[in-house]
């Protein structure tokens, strides 16, 4: 036994979690990175096109470990063929993974993508963190509620998960003292105490959001996509944070009509543009269904700004009318391929109402800032 130059052993490694713990830290950092890059992710096609329920996989480049390194695209690498390789032979194309075996002397080409699995809700939580309905005012009839739960009460019956350990032990000590053996802490069922919650419903003022979208011919695929991305998150946001907010969907070209949610997000239309039509309709709906004395009213309009020139003045008048009855008016203009600088935006520049907010979106990354601009809570109204 003593002349053996080796020992073989097999230990229990089941508690060795080092790799997992550090991987968890890596994941945390990935989440932080997602948060920092929300602007890029918000308009990610796989999310907007999903039904909003399932888990989505975001292709996120795992966190880079930056160091001084050579330009991989200019680098000459050494490889090995199975005979007769000639200059000019193609080994693979970008995106396709090389079937490298073991770590070669050179670095392996190819990008290290990491699929972070995240539910739309988790993502929404990150996005909505600091959004809220701006300039919310108290109205006569209150319908909009926010619910929360508060643990205020202690009872003798309840769910084991909600047991109040401190009170239970105090009860046990008290009972034991009463029976003449102080200090003993055997717990009987009658000692158990449970924390119990109360529903805390707070009534908030009613609100209605009027989502207006330009669906005319000049709104190309890109412009529609941007508008829909915005409304997608807007609807989710309103439904998450406010139980009873009403949303009215209006689509327009030269004429406006009220549509349901599904149509709003899927229907393509064409034709010219008369934005005044949709403002007219909005005013009509407000007059008939949502009395400004009872409701906070939030109209949002998205367009490429390419309006019939003769209609512009009328639009300005109608927007001013809307501003009188609503809390905030949001106008988003999408700067597409054929963007014309003499757009509606230039007309609206004349407006000097603090309730009017407008944003100009140039690309996908503009959607998140737009959400932040329109849904700035605490009554602050920013003019951009």
């Amino acid at each position: 036994m003593f002349d053996k130059t080796f020992i073989v052993s097999k230990d229990d490694w089941s508690l060795h979690r080092k790799g997992h713990i550090d991987q968890q830290r890596h994941m945390e950092k990935v989440k932080e990175a997602i948060k920092k890059n929300l602007a890029d992710i918000v308009a990610e096609e796989s999310i907007i096109m999903s039904d909003g329920k399932k888990i989505i996989k975001l292709p996120i480049k795992s966190l880079e470990e930056y160091h001084f390194r050579y330009n991989q695209n200019k680098q000459k690498n050494v490889g090995q063929g199975d005979g007769n390789t000639k200059p000019g032979d193609v080994l693979g194309s970008e995106g396709g993974k090389g079937s490298g075996n073991g770590p070669g002397a050179g670095s392996e080409p190819g990008v290290d993508y990491y699929e972070a699995e995240i539910t739309v809700d988790e993502l929404a939580e990150l996005i909505f963190e600091d959004l809220g309905l701006p300039n919310l005012q108290e109205k006569r009839q209150q319908e909009l509620t926010t619910e929360s739960y508060q643990f205020k009460d202690v009872r003798k019956k309840g769910i084991m998960g909600n047991i109040d350990k401190r009170r239970t032990i105090i009860e046990s000590i008290k009972r034991n003292s009463r029976c003449g053996n102080p200090g003993q802490t055997i717990i009987y069922p009658e000692d158990l105490r449970f924390k119990t919650w109360d529903e805390d419903i707070r009534y908030q003022s009613n609100a209605v959001v009027i989502a207006m979208m330009d669906t005319s011919g000049s709104m190309g695929a890109f412009e529609k996509y941007i508008a829909r991305s915005f409304f997608f998150w807007m609807v989710r946001f309103l439904r998450t944070k406010y139980q009873n907010v009403n949303i009215v969907f209006l689509a327009h070209h030269t004429e406006a009509k009220e549509v349901n949610e599904r149509e709003f997000f899927t229907k393509g239309e064409s034709g010219g543009t008369r934005c005044s039509s949709v403002y007219d309709l909005a005013l009509k709906i407000i007059a008939t269904r949502y009395n400004p004395d009872d409701y906070n009213i939030y109209p949002f309009h998205f367009s490429d700004g390419d309006n019939l020139p003769s209609d512009n003045e009328k639009c300005l008048v109608l927007v001013q009318k809307l501003l009188q009855v609503c809390n905030v008016f949001g106008y988003g203009e999408i700067e597409g391929l054929y963007y014309n600088s003499s757009s509606l935006m230039s007309i609206y520049r004349k407006l000097r109402d603090p309730k009017f907010t407008s944003v100009l979106i140039k690309d996908k990354t503009g959607v998140y800032p737009a959400l932040k601009a329109f849904f700035k809570p605490q009554g602050k109204v920013m003019n951009m």
């Binding site: 052993s9 080092k18 790799g19 713990i21 950092k29 090995q80 200059p87 050179g106």
Partner: protein, 467 residues
């Protein structure tokens, strides 16, 4: 492995170690640890079982384990350069697989023990790393994880920039001129000079610092950065020590893997195997030496070069006999000599012949637009290309030109451009790490498309200008 299998494995180890000794391999005592795949992958990701915690290790652990779970790649063993030598074997392996791995490991151990590039590596590194990891843990408790992570992130971003040859080419001579001209006769002689100005002392502001460009960036920052706390310097030295320890493994990858493959196949050939075992062995062995398309397989290329050297020194051609006076029959002696004195660079330069490049069908390839395309198969250019990739462990050579640039205490680094441009995006992302440690603006000189460019990071933004 069941207890019976472990017994069988131990029996085989007797034979394997005896055979290895018979072949002339010289190794430390071995500690074989059988552990589950997850543990092997953890150690593989960290490079050492006892290393400190960092998210980047977690990331590579996850990647390696995913590849294992999807059956894309597999590590069979992990062997540690230490005395005694630790080897971690996969529990899920069959006995024959682990026999092969054990034979492979004996040869690695021989290489660690005898190759001279490993002469400075501590054979107690498992323990040293454990102590360092403990210290880092303590710092985390004291200063918070975020702080430690920030320093580790910065240090690891430049961890390749050390001087592995720190002991070579240094001629010790007195640096202080006064010492030579006026030797002290008694220990108290300096008393006579109190109050006398020493004229040789140049004003410290104009003295170039460092006097000669230095390569050891981690050490330079750890010693000379003005605003680092002691614990921060300690972390820099920890990262540096571990890199110095790992460096020879980077530099001898092809030799070392080839050497281990050569001996595992010979040892396994000489110990008795059943028919089934022989087939399983052959399967595994051929898996190990499968050539790589987008990179070379060090096991295979290394093995081929070793075999070729042995053959050429055993049975030299007439030309070799006449030209180099090679008597023949020296194959074994020659390969043991090479395993002692060379590293990958000299190994490839001296022994990758025209015939081998052609036989192995090695080529140079590059990205041409969106495709990876073979651009050259001429043997000398292929060899040069491989050497370029291996130079300085495959990392850019960066030196500290000036630690007091413009006399403002700014740092001036220079990339010694050898025909390959840097990844400029990565460069811009790495400079803040150097700034974090140096605490003052960092300048970085490199060439892009043959134009000299100076990058400057001042803590807020990157500026670049053509020189």
């Amino acid at each position: 492995m069941t207890p019976e299998e472990i017994k069988e494995f131990e029996k085989a180890l007797d034979k394997i170690s005896a055979k290895a000794k018979e072949f002339g391999l010289d190794f430390y005592d071995m500690r074989f640890e059988i552990c589950p795949a997850e543990i092997i992958y953890t150690f593989g990701a960290y490079g050492m079982p006892t290393r400190y915690s960092h998210w980047s290790f977690g990331k590579s652990f996850h990647r390696m384990k995913t590849q294992y779970d999807y059956n894309l790649s597999r590590i069979y063993e992990l062997v540690i350069n230490s005395d005694p030598c630790y080897a971690f074997l996969l529990d899920g392996n069959s006995v024959i697989q682990n026999k092969l791995v054990a034979a492979h490991v004996y040869a690695h151990c021989d290489f660690f023990k005898n190759n001279k590039w490993f002469r400075h590596t501590s054979k107690k590194m498992v323990e040293s790393m454990a102590r360092s990891a403990e210290r880092i843990k303590e710092y985390e408790f004291k200063y918070g994880r975020a702080m430690i992570e920030e320093v580790l992130d910065a240090a690891m971003a430049i961890q390749e920039h050390i001087e592995p040859r720190h002991d070579l080419g240094i001629i010790r001579k007195p640096t202080d001129d006064r010492e030579r001209t006026r030797p002290d006769e008694t220990p108290y002689d300096d008393l006579w000079n109190i109050g006398i100005k020493t004229p040789e002392e140049p004003p410290s502001k104009t003295r170039k610092f460092p006097l000669k460009p230095e390569k050891d960036l981690l050490k330079f920052l750890a010693v000379h950065a003005k605003e680092l706390d002691d614990w921060e310097r300690d972390i820099l030295f920890i990262v540096r020590d571990e890199m110095l320890y790992l460096w020879p493994q980077i530099e001898t990858k092809i030799m070392n893997e080839g050497w281990a493959t050569l001996w595992h196949s010979r040892i396994m050939r000489d110990i008795q195997l059943s028919e089934n075992e022989t087939i399983e062995f052959a399967k595994m062995h051929s898996g190990v030496i499968m050539p790589g398309i987008m990179g070379i397989n060090p096991y295979f290329v290394g093995l081929k070069i070793w075999e070729d050297i042995e053959k050429r020194w055993d049975k030299p051609t007439r030309e070799e006999k006449e030209k180099y006076g090679r008597p023949g029959g020296q194959g074994r002696e020659k390969i043991f000599e090479i395993r002692e004195t060379e590293n990958d660079i000299s190994f490839i330069r001296n022994y990758l012949t025209k015939e081998l490049v052609e036989e192995l069908d090695l080529y140079l390839f590059q990205k041409v637009y969106t495709k990876w395309q073979v651009i050259d198969t001429e043997w000398e250019r292929v060899r040069e290309g491989l050497l370029t990739l291996l130079t300085n462990g495959g990392f850019p050579h960066i030196i500290i030109e000036d630690g007091n640039y413009n006399r403002t205490g700014d740092l001036y680094l220079r990339h010694c451009h050898e025909g390959r441009d840097l990844d400029l995006f990565y460069l811009e992302k790495t400079l803040p790490s150097v700034f974090r440690l140096w605490g003052r603006p960092v300048n970085f000189e490199t060439s892009v498309d043959e134009k000299k460019i100076l990058y400057t990071y001042n803590g807020e933004k990157i500026q670049k200008r053509t020189l």
